[in-house]
Symmetry: D2
Subunit: 479 residues, 4 copies
Amino acid sequence: MSSYFERMKCMKNVYLNGEQVNDLLAEPAFKGAAQAMQTYYDLQKDEPETHCFRDEQGNYAPISLMVPKTIEDLRRKRKSYKAIADISFGMLGRTPDFINAALSTLYAHSHFLGMDQYADYQNNAIEYYKFVKDKNLFIGHGAINPQIDRSVSLGEQTNEFAGVHVVSHDLNGITVSGAKMIVTLAPIADELLVFNMPGLRPGDEKYAIAFALPVQTPGAKIICRKTTVKPTLSQFDHPLANRFDEMDAYLVLENVHIPWNRVFIFQDVEKSNLFYDRTFIRHHTGHQGIVRGVSKAELLTGVAIKLAKMLKLDQFVNVQEKLGELTSSVELLKASIILSEETAHLNEKGIVTPNIHTIQAIRYHFPKMYEKMIKHIQSLAAGSMLATPLLQDFLSENGDMLMAALSTGEFDGQERTKLLNLAWDVSGDSFGQRQLVYEYYHAGDPMRIAANHYLAYEKEEMLKMVDRALNEKSELLKV
Amino acid sequence: MSSYFERMKCMKNVYLNGEQVNDLLAEPAFKGAAQAMQTYYDLQKDEPETHCFRDEQGNYAPISLMVPKTIEDLRRKRKSYKAIADISFGMLGRTPDFINAALSTLYAHSHFLGMDQYADYQNNAIEYYKFVKDKNLFIGHGAINPQIDRSVSLGEQTNEFAGVHVVSHDLNGITVSGAKMIVTLAPIADELLVFNMPGLRPGDEKYAIAFALPVQTPGAKIICRKTTVKPTLSQFDHPLANRFDEMDAYLVLENVHIPWNRVFIFQDVEKSNLFYDRTFIRHHTGHQGIVRGVSKAELLTGVAIKLAKMLKLDQFVNVQEKLGELTSSVELLKASIILSEETAHLNEKGIVTPNIHTIQAIRYHFPKMYEKMIKHIQSLAAGSMLATPLLQDFLSENGDMLMAALSTGEFDGQERTKLLNLAWDVSGDSFGQRQLVYEYYHAGDPMRIAANHYLAYEKEEMLKMVDRALNEKSELLKV
Amino acid sequence: MSSYFERMKCMKNVYLNGEQVNDLLAEPAFKGAAQAMQTYYDLQKDEPETHCFRDEQGNYAPISLMVPKTIEDLRRKRKSYKAIADISFGMLGRTPDFINAALSTLYAHSHFLGMDQYADYQNNAIEYYKFVKDKNLFIGHGAINPQIDRSVSLGEQTNEFAGVHVVSHDLNGITVSGAKMIVTLAPIADELLVFNMPGLRPGDEKYAIAFALPVQTPGAKIICRKTTVKPTLSQFDHPLANRFDEMDAYLVLENVHIPWNRVFIFQDVEKSNLFYDRTFIRHHTGHQGIVRGVSKAELLTGVAIKLAKMLKLDQFVNVQEKLGELTSSVELLKASIILSEETAHLNEKGIVTPNIHTIQAIRYHFPKMYEKMIKHIQSLAAGSMLATPLLQDFLSENGDMLMAALSTGEFDGQERTKLLNLAWDVSGDSFGQRQLVYEYYHAGDPMRIAANHYLAYEKEEMLKMVDRALNEKSELLKV
Amino acid sequence: MSSYFERMKCMKNVYLNGEQVNDLLAEPAFKGAAQAMQTYYDLQKDEPETHCFRDEQGNYAPISLMVPKTIEDLRRKRKSYKAIADISFGMLGRTPDFINAALSTLYAHSHFLGMDQYADYQNNAIEYYKFVKDKNLFIGHGAINPQIDRSVSLGEQTNEFAGVHVVSHDLNGITVSGAKMIVTLAPIADELLVFNMPGLRPGDEKYAIAFALPVQTPGAKIICRKTTVKPTLSQFDHPLANRFDEMDAYLVLENVHIPWNRVFIFQDVEKSNLFYDRTFIRHHTGHQGIVRGVSKAELLTGVAIKLAKMLKLDQFVNVQEKLGELTSSVELLKASIILSEETAHLNEKGIVTPNIHTIQAIRYHFPKMYEKMIKHIQSLAAGSMLATPLLQDFLSENGDMLMAALSTGEFDGQERTKLLNLAWDVSGDSFGQRQLVYEYYHAGDPMRIAANHYLAYEKEEMLKMVDRALNEKSELLKV
């Protein structure tokens, strides 16, 4: 058994449907995703030139942990991100490379964290990076505070699970309690990085923290949502839903002790709010995210095309238009990735950061494109997706009849059914809709993404253009 | 046990996941819907003034079977439709009143069916109506031919399951084979009305038939799709999905004998194409359908509002706008129902038919409105829907903690979770998405609905207006 | 010369492009609209049964001034509104019936205005109603305060033209200064009703007024925007734009004296905010507005249809779908009007008020429908609208050639060109875009319309439905 | 007087409103655009390093005529395109660089044209390229056949102006008659390149031609559409509309003689259909077109931002979202340009062609983005755009009052008005709407653009992904 699988064997604080999960790898809700993680590790062994770099000691480490110094480095990281995303067709968004990308830039910009009387946070980040790199761990993260009452600030909440907060601290470390929601893939990660998205306000100090902890820590519980896996059905019936449910968990911490060397921010509202942006975590995880999006977009566009072909609909120009809307969206997504790399920023220390304006631009538009993909698939397959027998029907006395009845062109009854099942999984099944919700909200409220794009974008040239349009005089024109 | 439940006990040709279902009422995939059907029958007993009319013999019969003679009759039918829809919040679209509405108008316009050397189809329709009325049966229907190859006509298909066709006929009746898809609620209906939607072409004669048969008929098989019921989870976890899955089945007929007195159209392409419209089945089932839509629209709008209130989002004007988009859509839906009734057509025999132009108008627009309801619910609940523990978690050792952790304002942890579960069921769960697909396609391709609205609509006045705009001369204006 | 034209001859404080207009009826920017107003008066003479009612003295008065006592009264008013709208194809939104509808309900609910130490406002409203009725005047209105700085309240504005405010008052009346924007059709109205839309705040008292004044009043100036009339071109070139520009004017008042008997609200923020709603002006002008919308919708839908036919595009199903989207929208608009009437409210005094929820519902949706009409027209005519010769070209040496070159089917070159010109006028010309902006904003910010629909709508039943979905237990289902 | 202006002095076959234009430079409809053309020529003198390259003789020639050999060459051409577009804020789409880009690639791929018994078309293209380069001419083009009857092919049309066709040919050349529509900027061009877009069918041979001719040719007439210039108003009133109307003309040819050395395709349907694509004209003009789009997008986004700031609306997060939608769209547009260059194709002769898939992708999406820009501007400025006095009002006795009344924050009354006028010009004026129609349709029917994107796009990888999703077996998962 691989070391990743062995590590997973130890996890005991994961709860699913009211019960503690004894064997993660045997649990249908997790085993598909765990298998994908193992494939992630296998890729490093099988294709180290693509998926690894050599660290200062000359050892191979996952390339997602590499600090990029050139645009070519970004391209190399992209190539690995894409191959990792392809394992799950982009359906697993929080594979280890996601937080690795974050840790590499946190390491490179660790000076932002500084130090105080309690700890040297900069050094903590450096050491944590090395620890993760040397052990080649899978780090998940918890950043989103439960949506309890959006009309008051965290510090004013009476509900102590509205976020994770400091209960006390001493020479050894800090004691924290509280909760984070949508801690994706937490059940099958090694450790978690806990921090806040921007938006804390003065008075929220005790919530203004960042730290790391092993998933398996006393006082920490991982409580899962409903799985989208249907254990009584087969991969034929749910080609994707039964393989790649990406579990979102509710993380509860009750008086959990965190040693100082795993603390990165301590009761500092300003640092907490700037953490995501000033360490460029947002930039690098955003880069990974839009690259992953390509896998997803390619799969769904492919499904739409194959459906149209199977149902002989691709000869109609209005169907072709829909398909062209999808292929052209894929192209715009790819264009954004290239621009984010080609206009990357090189800082004085020789570190390269992808262009966040491009990343956020496509982040705002991509979920709309993805929704169109789902919509067009639903429109092409329509009712046919609701008229598919199950695998056991094909294996039953009715099997021969169904094979004949449901054949169309070169597709036999099973092939036709399986493609429709795949179409349903990505568009109508709980699995596919969770994927849609994830695309829309995993990077925060889309309204805020757009608002911030406007606020942060370089607007000077555009405003000068307006001034020129208002004030420039034409020679020929008298007035 | 009620007579409906007793009748259901006899059904043996329903297949689910490869197995013949022995006890429909015990099967999780059906028992919620069957319970709703029983409630449908109970309503007639409990509120006969609303749900029944007295037939020529003075006996109570379901008002959905009444032939309407006045606009007030339409309003009475509407009131009953709405109360029936409310049983399932509109999620069961093919309750018995749906085909009852069809049978009442088929009965009233049975002359359309005529007769030939084989049978008196007009009389068959009259007798069948009386049979259904006297037994108070639940009739489902199969109208949609499987989407096999849309580029050739039915008669040219090599796949003999591309529709239901005549194999042979003799003095006793006809023998049919073939298939229909999305025969909704067939597993728990008494009989099925089988016919075609318009669109057959010359050469499709053997497919051009209409007839009725008991569900439990030798040679007839009902093969179900994947259920959206999750039998291991509770009503708490899936407040609607575990109660109201409306099973869509694939109906296969293999050399099934239909006696002549149950045949309504026999190998007549023109009659088959006109059947739906000329008997006004389209009008009356459409009327039932848009009334049912109100229940659904009210529930989803209510869910959106309650979510906004629970999450304290309803104070923001942009959220209020979204909610107002939904409430105003509900209002337009209601307006359409009123107009379809107020402008109903009274024919020379004193029979009243609701205005199909209004019905088709809202049919085209309603799915878009419904999709907005889903979208706004997803946008309000967003990630929170993916962060809900299950009932068993609340009943476990973690229960007290979760009750506290997930409370918000006046909602305790369970209440908050259950509302989010309801939001997920209607918007993200397979159940909710099946409902969306159903709204979009249950009345045919929306593109065709709109195209036909244009083709059938009274355009003369609008074109005259254009002529006037082009040709009218103003006195003051010289040119 | 008619009395209306004679009255218009006296107007001298209208400014257009920097000059005082000496003869309104000779000015191209006004004469088309003035002609339409004359037609409005003619209708009353020619069809008094439709357009008039008999007042208490037994005299004919415009039916728009009738206080409705029955739903049938609303239907009668609707019939007249529609015929008036048809004069201009709905392009003139502020015809006299608009404020007449307001005055009739203000009269009927004048008790809301009350009295104080300065004046009996209730009586003022009654007397003003009689004055307008007896003279059969054309009353315009100014309600929108110039958009100067939306971040501070009126009372805090340093710009004294941010609204109309009281400068002083004495025994004879009040002196007002300030401005209103988009005082539509003011140049050719007899009098103006000046008031505020809701939204004033404590501290805005001096702006919190309502009163009437003759357009031709010392100190009052009407300053026009750019006209969309092209005086050098013909009705052929601009079939609508050259006839029905509905001038929006900027009204400036500089120390204008208003006698007390023309004041309806005096420095009362609460009354000013409630004025529009509590006197039901919003309801009745809204009713007129959506009826007028039908004319507009019919014309544009007709233009789209005729274009599709002329260009032989109406055979394509995707074009038919677009046209069906328009015809079905027209139907929903009509449905809303009927529902607003059928569910009108009858108060204890026997006065009937149309249902504002229905009116606001369609008000929110109609501009989107109208925009679709414009979009589909642009999509059908596309570049062809940009390739039309002018009338003078047809009259020139090139005329014969153009007649031949541009003929298509039964349309000769001029007919084809004129239809394309009409398409451009309603969709691409400044005229058509002003109409679109008007539809979107004439009843206030659409975001607020929707938000208020949500806030005011009866939500109890929908929320009960949610509660039932959450709490109802199924008998068969165990959990 | 410049040589360009001098050349324009000779043009005599331009008709506007029924009259032959005697002095193009004095005609308000043209003089703004002509001025912009002069600026185009000035740029070459003032900034030759940016706008010129050295041809084989070592002479400066416009860089748009350069045959690109490297990606850097494409970037250089882009830089010049952008600066040229900036002259008119992208409002002039058919500046000389547009057809220059076409001629350079036609020259580089002239072998496609071949030769026959009449002429050496390849050589004709080479010589014409040199002629244009040496004279530094402005070439317009006519490609769109008038939309007469879309249900029959060109060859079947009875209307002989449905396209341009061969009347006869002899040793000297060919004689052509017929028409093209939307021959943009033709009135102020030197010569025209006449060809067809793809879509001709067998039987259309006599229409299947391509050739060049001087605008001023006997038998050729340029008949203009309505101008959007308002000659009685000022640049203040119409900051853009009065400067940059890009005239679309109807080109009529009556027995026009074209010498063989100006003919490029002669009665060859296949060549005519492939012309646009196989010579890569589509690719290079597309590249110019999307670069020009940036100017337009920047101006409109800038206008939206400045409006929001002026009206103090930019503090609201929902307004920020709208602005962010625009800034992120600008970014996607830029991304597409970069990708089209970075993935340019290098052929065996060392010639570089930009990636058409990327160009067509953004071409499909950009008009929708542009429409959103217009929509958001209309939503921000709303009624205020309809409440602006004219320049003459500010210069009149009312001027001081208006300056005060309409001031807001740091904007005085004139500045506020002028910005609103600019907003109207780009969004609501005929000028702005013509620009929108142009964006949507100048590259053909958007439905076809998307359909062709789908048809031409590399789909193999996406379909393989679907196959993998269908067939890949997971190790852990049993079925």
